[in-house]
Amino acid sequence: MRIDWWTIGLQTINLVVLLWLLGRFFFRPMTKVVAERRTAANEMLDAARAAQEKAEAATKEAEAERQRVAASRQEALEAARKEAEAQRAKLIEAAHEEARRERAEAEAALDHARGQAEAQLARQANALAADMAARLLEGPAAKLPLASFLPELEHALAALPKATRAKLATEAAPATLVSARALDEAEQQDVREALGRALGHEATLTYDTDLTLIAGLQLSGGMAVLDVNLRADLDRVTARLDARDE
């Protein structure tokens, strides 16, 4: 056996050199790249965590925004609903008001029509009553003496203006005396005398008959017409009743 010390020495130097070379060109770059990758991975993880936190914050923000939008939408809907309800209530109130007004108008028209109908009915009733009274009075009134109407006729003539009286029943313009029945001579004389007293001059008359007067006289001449008969009384009564029922 022989130990080659030169070889031991050379191999030792070789290994030391190899140690240095591998340390410089293999282990150091490998360690460096692994460390760099670890750093990069940590940075990426940090960045990812930051991005995740950012995304979560953005998600929360979006959720809050969504809730705000939903709340404002709800508020808008509520406001629109209230507005619509107010509008609806207003429309309903207007419709009610319109209905009330139309109803009042209809009631007023109805009342007016009813009043008119009642007035018409009253007038018809008054006319009927006058007609009945006239028929009832036809018999008894025929028996009334002419003299009972003369004072009233005189009184009516006295109420006329003097100028009118002077022009009434003159010879130039004779007046017409209408009676319910034909007057006999004596009665005509009584009438002329009574008129002569009332007019202040002799009366010139023409005579006529009209059954519708029932009883009494009607003197007409010039512009004046004097009614002293039951027909005129009945007409006045009927007119007063009609005026009361209007």
């Binding site: 056996m1 490998m30 360690t31």
Partner: protein, 230 residues
């Protein structure tokens, strides 16, 4: 076949004889350094297949060193890593025709063990101080000083002999089989030699690591034991 214990110089550089293991070591060094240069130039944050394998190896080495030394693997990474890779490649270089592994010669193994021995001293002194490291030889009692001193020598020799014996025997067995049985018969033995080579590289590196770790931690343990009674 020549005796494994005798190596003949291939040529001389002045008075220095250059033997086959030295030349083989130079070739292996050249290959390793070229490979390292190529790899380091193409290192990327997103590793390729080769880079991933190399990162896996360095990561596993770091993990092993950390488990043994129980501290940061950085100060021991280059030494243990280089020893492991060199021994592995040197052992496997015997598979190439005409190449005899440098580790099949006692001188290369002695140089490797010498490195481990020097590193043990260096890290022991660095961690504990010169006096502190010397004190570790008197653990647990001063009577143990001769035994501890002898242990330093014998375990270094055991490193040398273990690696030399395993690799040399493998080379010899394959050589004998080749001379006896022709072409295909040695193949299973060569496969076995691959396994043996890897296991021996691992054992050498780990034992070196254990020796360094012991030198570092013995001082630490002794210091803590001295502190605890006070």
């Amino acid at each position: 076949m020549n005796s494994p214990l005798v190596i003949e110089p291939l040529f001389y550089v002045g008075p220095v004889p250059i033997t086959q293991p030295v030349v083989a070591t130079w070739v292996i060094m050249a290959v390793m350094v070229l490979f390292s240069l190529l790899l380091s130039r193409h290192l990327k944050p997103r590793p390729g297949r080769t880079q991933a394998v190399m990162e896996l190896i360095t990561g596993a080495l770091d993990h092993q060193i950390e488990e043994v030394v129980q501290s940061d693997p950085a100060p021991y990474r280059v030494l243990i890593g280089t020893i492991f890779l060199f021994v592995l490649i040197a052992n496997w270089s015997g598979m190439l025709p005409g190449v005899e592994p440098p580790t099949a010669h006692l001188e290369t193994d002695a140089a490797l063990a010498l490195l481990v021995f020097a590193a043990t001293l260096y890290h022991g002194v660095r961690s504990n101080g010169f006096v502190g490291y010397l004190k570790t030889f008197a653990e647990p009692t001063w009577i143990m000083i001769p035994l501890n001193l002898v242990e330093q020598i014998t375990r270094t020799f055991s490193l040398i002999i273990r690696l030399f014996g395993n690799v040399m025997s493998g080379v010899f067995v394959i050589g004998i089989m080749l001379s006896l049985a022709g072409l295909l018969v040695p193949i299973p033995l060569m496969a076995l030699d691959l396994l043996t080579g890897a296991v021996q590289a691992y054992i050498f590196a780990i034992l070196g690591c254990v020796f360094i770790g012991a030198a570092v931690s013995e001082g630490r343990d002794a210091a803590s034991q001295e502190r605890s009674p006070s």
